[in-house]
Amino acid sequence: MTHEAIFAGFGGQGVLSMGMILSYAGMIENKEVCWMPSYGPEMRGGTANCTTIVSDSAISSPIISSYDSVIALNQPSMDKFESKVKPGGNLIYDSTNILVPPTRKDINIYAIPGSEEAVRLNNSKVLNMIILGTFIAVTNAVKPATILKALEQVLPERYHKLIPLNTEAFELGMEFVNK
């Protein structure tokens, strides 16, 4: 199985980290992974995104035309990537930030009030973990437990005290799909 996803949003929302955690998790599960960030002018104050591919076989191109899943955390990302979801694919978005909803009928749409929930958890920075939880529940691209293992590798030691909060956020995100 190959899963091709793009995580997109404002710089600072943690979209690059979402892809990185997924990549580490894929590696822990012995899959092939490829993480390709935008690093250009958009990193310097605008929108940021990363393509992340997790696969059971060798990965050809890091540059792809359409995605199994698009994860959009702001309106510009939604505007840019809604059309790039493969028919039957997934569009997961932060419905607190994104006010103009998607219009496509041939894809699965998940509107998650991520920012609102993050504020409820008293840390707006866990938005990305909430949405990542939803993404994993929808796609099963890797096992949820592996994401939590990967988190330990990605987070520098000094932030490990935040792992319980991130775990709570991740599980909350999964519940939006599973309940």
């Binding site: 580490y24 992974v33 390709m36 250009g40 050809s60 191109s61 540059i63």
Partner: protein, 356 residues
């Protein structure tokens, strides 16, 4: 099996340098390859005692390479397009004096200061000269983070075997992306140095001297003939490439580095649509696999060359194919990366069934 890690291309390049027992790195920061200097500054000296120096410019770095490599040390520098342009004089001198070293160009969009996004516009500069005089850089084009590791080691081996500078021609995307890599074991730094290097006059021996200056034309011609004989040996022995699905192919997609990776995806899509497409990926750009393209042209209907430039390697492909079959080109410039769908569209409109 070696240690497996998830690494950025630039970090992998730096880690491979340390593990290859590199003695020194001289470089100047430039996007999209600044992680190389950052990683080495953090890791290298404490692990192997390797010298890591931020020079005052790219011109200084390449001349520091000349000095250190002239003393027989394994040294490397990296930069991106505008910085590599500044190094061209030094590269010509290194080739002329037959001093081995490895240089990596993490290609960005040009010309001029250009853009920091990935491009392949430096192909001509790398394999057709760049600096002055009749010289060649042995050129390897990594297309994955794994090859960023493997080609550092291979690059040093080839540079030292032929006493010639080696260029790793990669791009911003491969430098910035993360993939799984298998790292080779730490190699010891060299303790013995070849007999040509300038480490002092041996007892009873001649003074050692490294130069590319020979005022007498007769002598300079002999030096050139020696270089050309060496390049012929390189051309006979060091051609490297990868082919996929050539056996039953009606058409071939070709490209190097990132271009080849995108072609692979386009090939998969084309095959799903029922078109028998194969792939040729030159790994060594100098020496170039001319014979492979010539023999392939005898049995396929057409070749589509894809690059992140206005069409540079395609000149070499056409030179090899000699008008036997159509060779189409598709490229994007200025830091725009062609997508697999664009390649398929160009293939269907311009090459498939004679472009009908």
């Amino acid at each position: 099996m070696g240690e497996i890690k998830l690494m950025k291309g630039n970090e992998a390049l730096a880690e491979a340098m340390i593990r290859a027992g590199c003695d020194g790195y001289f470089g100047y920061p430039i996007t999209p390859q600044s992680e190389v200097l950052e990683y080495l500054s953090r890791e290298a000296t404490k692990r192997t005692g390797m010298v890591v120096l931020q020079a005052e410019s790219e011109i200084a770095s390449i001349n520091m390479i000349y000095g250190a490599a002239g003393c027989g040390r394994r040294v490397m520098t990296t930069s991106s397009s505008p910085g590599i342009s500044l190094m061209q004089e030094g590269l010509s001198y290194l080739a002329g004096a037959e001093i081995p070293c490895v240089v990596a160009n993490v290609n960005r969009g040009g010309p001029g200061l250009g853009t920091i996004q990935p491009a392949q516009g430096d192909y001509f500069q790398t394999v057709k000269g760049g600096g002055h005089g009749d010289y060649h850089l042995i050129t390897l084009a990594p297309s994955s983070v794994q090859e960023m590791v493997d080609f550092v080691k291979l690059g040093f081996d080839l540079a030292e075997k032929y006493r010639n500078p080696v260029m790793l021609l990669t791009d911003g995307a491969i430098g910035q992306m993360m993939e799984k890599v298998e790292l080779f074991e730490q190699m010891p730094r060299k303790t013995e140095f070849p007999d040509w290097c300038t480490t002092g006059k041996p007892k009873g021996g001649d003074r050692r001297f490294l130069t590319s200056l020979y005022i007498k034309p007769e002598k300079m011609e002999q030096i050139n003939l020696g270089l050309q004989a060496k390049y012929k040996t390189v051309e006979e022995n060091e051609i490297r490439y990868e082919t996929i699905n050539l056996e039953d192919a009606d058409y071939v997609f070709t490209g190097y580095g990132l271009g080849a990776r995108i072609c692979m995806k386009a090939m998969e899509i084309a095959r799903e649509k029922g078109h028998k497409v194969g792939l040729i990926r030159p790994i060594s750009l100098y020496p170039f696999p001319y014979d492979l393209y010539a023999s392939t042209a005898a049995r396929v209907k057409g070749i589509l060359d894809v690059e992140l430039n206005a069409g540079q390697m395609v000149w070499d492909v056409r030179y090899a194919v000699k008008d036997k079959i159509p060779v189409e080109f598709y490229g994007r410039m200025g830091g725009i990366i062609p997508s697999p769908d664009e390649i398929i569209e160009h293939f269907e409109n311009h090459l498939l069934n004679g472009g009908a």
